[in-house]
Each structure stands twice: as structure tokens, then as C-alpha cells.
Symmetry: C2
Subunit: 446 residues, 2 copies
């Protein structure tokens, strides 16, 4: 509840939470929805939902005028009788939707600011009617955690839930998740699910689903289509392919990266092609090779141990190589370095800035050190320059064309499930599509 200046302003203009208002502030003039504040809202700040779909805090000082506005909004809360009239088609393939957070699969309640999960298949279909002809839905609310707050303990819960759902008869699984660390989690699941013989699709939204032009419904529909209709036996991320609403694309879980803070097509394949792209209707277009669902398979097992004594370390000019000792002294078992260019740290310059001795000592003490590139695109190489060969000769494992994020996840997973020597051997060998032999030019920045 607001008080002080904000309450005065609202009361004076006959406005309450949930109302639409025409508001002038700064150089803007637009119709917004009045949202409740929270314990964290600063004093004198009115929280509104902008037409852009974002929640935004405006200082009372900045508001030039505010008045009640008419805003025709179709009610999208289906009544109980409407829900009961929805018939589920039990002949469609079963697809599980596991909610873990993010705004997909939830609806914002404007009165309370709270979020309501769509946990009944009928509710999902009432809100996203396109789903009714694609799959027999099985929604599961696992938890609601911002993706940046998840740890490997949550990833393990997601992995075991996916396995349960597949064993329970689902043809494919969709996981909704906050987008911030989606690519870390999709990497983790790619390694944790052994013998996967079904599509497992992560999706989310970059714009909240109460916005007309939100990406959330299309992302959800395309993800359910992949799960229900494709023969892809891999973990992938399904999000918008470009800034239009024509296509979503499925990116391999170990080769994806969030490359934009806010665009709907923020997720890009790095050193890889998309596996497929598709619209809400029509064919699924396959863009590259992938593991296909087999008619007979061993069945899914989980290999989900994870060592969190692994660090991801970006190295940059002037940086202090003592950071290697810091992790060594804390008992870390491995470090993935995000080096410059082909996989460099300072080595031959000013001695106090050289990483070489610290890296040697860390490796001699039993740590595994892997090298990736902060360029992101391309491949590290341990042979081209002297500094590279010095690091390589000290025992640094050059991680080919893996992203730093995937290399970090892989090393944590390897050290959780294998002994040190096996882990070191496997780090630069392909296990789950994370390493490609050859990098195609087409894959750079398109």
C-alpha cells in the first residue's frame, strides 16, 4: 500500500491500484496501469506497468500530470463454466510443462501484484487456445525461483523431474524458466540426462505475458510443438528466432547464450547452427544434424552430481594472477579461464602480472584448468603463439569451441561424477554437443 506523497496523488485523482491512468512524466505521455508497491519500493515512487510491458518506478516529482484513463481490456480470466466446457483431447501426445520460474505459464493479478500459476490443463488452454490441438498437457509446478538465484541443487531437481515425467509417459518435456541463466541450466541438463530419448525444451519470455506483443505465448506454443511433434532427442532452448513473430528456433542446450539484455531474440547459437526453426503452425524446419529419437532405447538415467568447487574466471589486462591462488587455497578443484583471443592470459610481460607460475602451481597441486575465450565466437588454439604454448605446456586444457559458461558447467559436472584424471581427459572431448569439430562461417553473428 502506498502512503505519503504517492497516496496523496492517487487519492486526489481518484485512482487506485489496478486502474489505468494517462500519465505525463519526463518526455513521455502514456497510458499505464497502477501497480502495487512492495517492501523494496523507495518512498515517493509510484510503480506502474508501462505499455512496453515493463514495470517501472516513477518518482512523484517527475510526474507532470496523471488522470484516470479508459482502457478496454478484454477479460482473459475464463469463468469456471468456461473451463468446464473445455474438452481435452486424450489422443494427443502427452507433454509435461514444468514451471520453475519466469513469467510464462503465470498470470499477473493486477489487484494484488501477485502471480497466479496456470496449473490446470484447461486453464492453460483457455489462456493459450493454440495448445489444445498440439498436446495433452501435464503441468507441474516445481518451484518459482528467479533463474539468477538457482544453484545446481535446483538443476538437480529439474533433472529428476524431467526423468520422472518421461518415465510417466510424456513424449516430451517443456521447462519454463527465467531467461538470465537459462543457458547455464540447459547445459547442466544436457550433461545430467543420460540416455535421453525425448525432446527436452527450455523456454521463457523476455517480455511479461500480460503484454499484447509478449513473446511468451509464441515461445510456449513452439516449445510444446517441439516436445509433441519433433524427433529431437536433445536438450534445447526454444525462443524467438528474430525480432518478428514469424519463427522460434531451437538451439542446442550446450551451444546457446543470452546475447542481449532485453530483445526477444536474445538467445543465439554460439559456434553452432540452430537445430530447427518453426512457427505456431506449419512444418518444423530442421537446420542441422541432431540426435534422433530411437524406437528402442535403454531408458533415461540421471547423472547429476556437481562439484561447486569450480570457478569461472575472466582474465583481463592488469589483473592480479593471485586470484588463482585464492581459488587454490579455498580447495577448488578446477577453474575455467575466460582468456583473451585464442586463449591468452598475460604470460611474458611484467612478472607480477604473469599467470604462468600460479597456473603451473595450481595444476601441479591437482587442479584442472581449462581455457576458453571471452571472444565467445571461434575456437581457442594452444599452438599459434608462444604464450599459448607456454600455457598449454603447463597443462592448461584448451576447450576448443565451447562457450565459457558451458565449459564451467561441464567441469563442475565432470568433477562431480568422475575422478580427476578422467575429468581432465573428458574436458575437451565432446559429450553433449558442446564441441564441434569444425566451425562454420555462417554461425558468426547472424
Amino acid at each position: 500500500m502506498y502512503n505519503g506523497l504517492v497516496k496523496e496523488l492517487l487519492d486526489k485523482n481518484g485512482l487506485k491500484i489496478g486502474d489505468f491512468a494517462l500519465i505525463e512524466f519526463g518526455n513521455s505521455k502514456e497510458v499505464v496501469k497502477i501497480l502495487p508497491n512492495s517492501e523494496f519500493t523507495e518512498k515517493g515512487i509510484l510503480v506502474v506497468k508501462l505499455e512496453s510491458g515493463y514495470n517501472f518506478g516513477i518518482s512523484v516529482d517527475e510526474i507532470d500530470s496523471i488522470e484516470k484513463a479508459e482502457h478496454k481490456e478484454k477479460s482473459d480470466d475464463p469463468s469456471e463454466s468456461e473451463l468446464q466446457s473445455i474438452e481435452l483431447n486424450k489422443d494427443l501426445p502427452q507433454v509435461s510443462i514444468i514451471y520453475t520460474g519466469g513469467t510464462i505459464g503465470s498470470k499477473l493479478d493486477y489487484r494484488t501484484g501477485g502471480v497466479h500459476m496456470l496449473l490446470k490443463p484447461e486453464e492453460l488452454i483457455a489462456n493459450v487456445p493454440e495448445l489444445s490441438n498440439i498436446a495433452m498437457l501435464h503441468p507441474v509446478h516445481l518451484f518459482s525461483i528467479a533463474s539468477e538465484d538457482m544453484t545446481y541443487l535446483e538443476w538437480q531437481r529439474i533433472a529428476s523431474t524431467v526423468a520422472e515425467e518421461i518415465k510417466g509417459g510424456s513424449r516430451g518435456v517443456v521447462i519454463t524458466i527465467g531467461t538470465d541463466t537459462m543457458h547455464y541450466v540447459s547445459s547442466a541438463l544436457s550433461f545430467m540426462l543420460k540416455g535421453l530419448n525425448a525432446p527436452v525444451v527450455f523456454t521463457g519470455s523476455q517480455r511479461s505475458s500480460d503484454r499484447g506483443s509478449s513473446d511468451s505465448f509464441m515461445n510456449l506454443i513452439c516449445s510444446v510443438r517441439i516436445a509433441a511433434e519433433s524427433d529431437i532427442a536433445e536438450v534445447g532452448i526454444c525462443m524467438h528466432k528474430d525480432s518478428s513473430d514469424d519463427y522460434c528456433q531451437l538451439i542446442r542446450g550446450t551451444k546457446a547464450r543470452k546475447m542481449n539484455t532485453s530483445r526477444r531474440d536474445a538467445f543465439r547459437p554460439i559456434n553452432d547452427l540452430p537445430i530447427a526453426h518453426l512457427g505456431i503452425k506449419g512444418e518444423i524446419h530442421y537446420d542441422s544434424d541432431y540426435n534422433k529419437v530411437k524406437s528402442s532405447a535403454e531408458g533415461i538415467t540421471i547423472m547429476d552430481k556437481f562439484s561447486d568447487k569450480v570457478a569461472l574466471l575472466k582474465v583481463y589486462p592488469n589483473s592480479d594472477p593471485d586470484i588463482i591462488n585464492y581459488y587454490k587455497n579455498k580447495g577448488y578443484k578446477g577453474i575455467i579461464i575466460e582468456g583473451t583471443g585464442l586463449g591468452h592470459t598475460s604470460v611474458s610481460g611484467r612478472p607480477e602480472k604473469s599467470y604462468l607460475n600460479n597456473i603451473k602451481e595450481a595444476i601441479d597441486s591437482g587442479m584442472i584448468i581449462g581455457m576458453t575465450s571471452q571472444c565467445l565466437y571461434g575456437r581457442v588454439n594452444s599452438k599459434v603463439y608462444t604464450n599459448l604454448r607456454l600455457l598449454s605446456n603447463a597443462g592448461v586444457v584448451y576447450c576448443e569451441d565451447m562457450t565459457p559458461e558451458t565449459a564451467y558447467i561441464k567441469l563442475g559436472w565432470l568433477l562431480g561424477n568422475y575422478n580427476r584424471d578422467e575429468a581432465r581427459q573428458l574436458l575437451n572431448k565432446n559429450i553433449a554437443g558442446e564441441i564441434r569439430d569444425r566451425t562454420l562461417y555462417d554461425e558468426f553473428l547472424i
Copy 2:
């Protein structure tokens, strides 16, 4: 000098260093040049230059066959009399070329493996004849250091040399440098050179200049053209615009990033348009706004202090927030965090993984903490989600659309030249083109 198995192999086939040989190894068969080994070459490894231009070490075990090959190579060492016959056109604008490392402006001597700098204007013109009609060249050999080995001490020497050259009558300055950290250095110079009223152009090459299809000559020519002919009063990076040899582009020094380990068009503008693009001949095409050279100006001054008690810290899932204390305890004055998405760290999840308290304590102790995004493209935002507001309320400065690398350089520079409060105020205010008010869609991944 080689010995052991490599020497045997070379002797048996009548080969010596500098010879061309047809070699079969793995699945490859190609003509290579035999290069000398170095103190770092492992035993049993033959170092060759591939047709691709890269030096490469091949284990003797892998070599299926090797024989002497004819290879017609035109001599590109001009004779002394040829050099003397070159007339310099002293009516052309004077452009300084400062060599700091990298392969541009140098020639590999195949007999010794050593590198010869082209320090006479006549030598440069004999090797790159296109330069003769563009500028009166003034080459300066400052030092030869791999860019990953440079520190701010080298950047300061580059800054003062640029200022000297401009005061000495040069219309513009080109700096050749290794590409790995070129964008860190171009950022540093962008802040260090105050009152710049001339083009200052960084360039380098992704393929060594003894390769036919090297990018180095075109990059050098285009850079000299910008320095000699443009009215751009900024620091920029001039490298290939795409994978063809049609155009180079000039990217603002604070908005560039190396985005590929090996492609010639690896440098991309991040959240910005290129300033200009151009070919070896023809017009310079201006693509966006820039600071123009003024007919009267105060003159260049240097503001080049730099605090290396500043860290760039990438934050990722499961990471240990104790890293903040590590830097605090080492007396660091500032940290730029490379967060996820709109500028997140873990805040509200498992308490042992939450960065919030450590960040609060660091800020309360006097440190400056800035937030950028590991998405690279887009803009951080302190308002959209609760976790963002918690960090922002704790005093984290959200750094708009700055790259993490530029924000790190800027904070080091600010803390070198201003007091703490001024530095904190200036961190998210535009000083050298590092922050744009608005992000254009066109700037994402093209």
C-alpha cells in the same frame, strides 16, 4: 635448431629451415614452410607455416610423408637502390604510425624466424605501395609487446607518444597493436587523451602479413586513410568490416569488442553503429555521428593516471560471493560486475550464494561497485525486477549500455584521476562515447 627425431627427418629428406616442403599429416596434404623451433617447442615437434598463414607444430609421429617442394615466391625485399628511388611526397598530410606489437608493420624473416620492423617510410611504401599517395609517413617503434602482456603502464606510454606525435605536426595517428586486448587499450586511450582534435586509429591483423590473403595491408591502408583524410576527432579501431576485402570499418574506441578468436571481421561495435566504413580507395562513408575536428581547439592534454585496484568480476550460478570480500580485503577501490541479464547477481536464493550483503558491506567500506551485463548487447536496468532494485538500493551503479571491458577501464581511469565521490558520479555518465542514450535495433549482431 632441431635435434633428435626432427633433425633426422629433415636431414634424411634434404630439408632445412626456410625450405618449402610438401607434407602429409593426419588428413592433410599441403605445402608448408619449415620454420625454426624455439626454446618452448616440445621435443619431436616440427614447426611449420601452413598455407593458412598460421604457424603450427606437427609431431613427427603424425607425419606420413615429407619432401622438398618448389614454391615460387616473389622476392618482396626491396633492394637498397629500389628504396633510394622512392620519392616521398612531402605535400601529403603527416601521419604517425606507432608500432607497439602485433604483426602489422613487420616482416617475418624466414631464415631466422625473426621479425624485421619497417621503420623507414621508404620501406613501408616499398611493401605497401598504396600508402605513397595517402600520407607522409612517420613510423615510430615504441615497443613490441603482445597485447595480452600489456598493462596500463604501456597504455600510458602509448598515450604520451600519441600526444607527442600530434604536437609534432601529425594530422592523425595510427597505432598497430596485437588484437587480443585492442579494445581495452582503445578504451583507455579514449579516456586518457583529453581535448583530442585528430583521428587516432588502432589497427592490427588477424592473419600474419606474410600470407597472401592477410588482412594486415588493407587494415593499415584504411587506418592511414582515416588518419590522413577524415575529420574524426576520436579514438577508434579500424579492422575488416566483413569477411570480404571490400571494406574496413572504424568503430568507436569505447564501443568495440573482439567477438571472434580468428575471423578478420572479429571486431564489432557493441550497442553502437560503426563511425565509418571505407575501402582502400574511394570515399569514406560516414555511418553515424562523431566528434568532428575543430579548426580551433585547446590542444591535447593527457590525463592518464590509472588505478589498478579495480577488478572486473564475472558472476555466474553457484559462484561464491566471498570473492567480493577477497577484493575488499586486498584494498581494491572498485569492482565492475559482469552480471546476468539486466544486471543480476544471486540475491534472493540460498543465503550462502547471495551477493547482497557482501556488496552492501563493500560499498559501505568505500568501494565503488558498477554493474554491467554478460549478455554484452543491450542495457542494464536497475528497476525491472526486485533483485535488481535490491542491488541498486545497496548502492550498485548500473552502467547503462557500456561493455564490461570499457566499464572496467573507465572505473580504473576515474579512480586514478578523481576522488571517490566524483568517480562514482561519473561512472554512469557519458565521457567518451561509452554510453548511448538510446540503443538502436540495428546494432544487435549484424
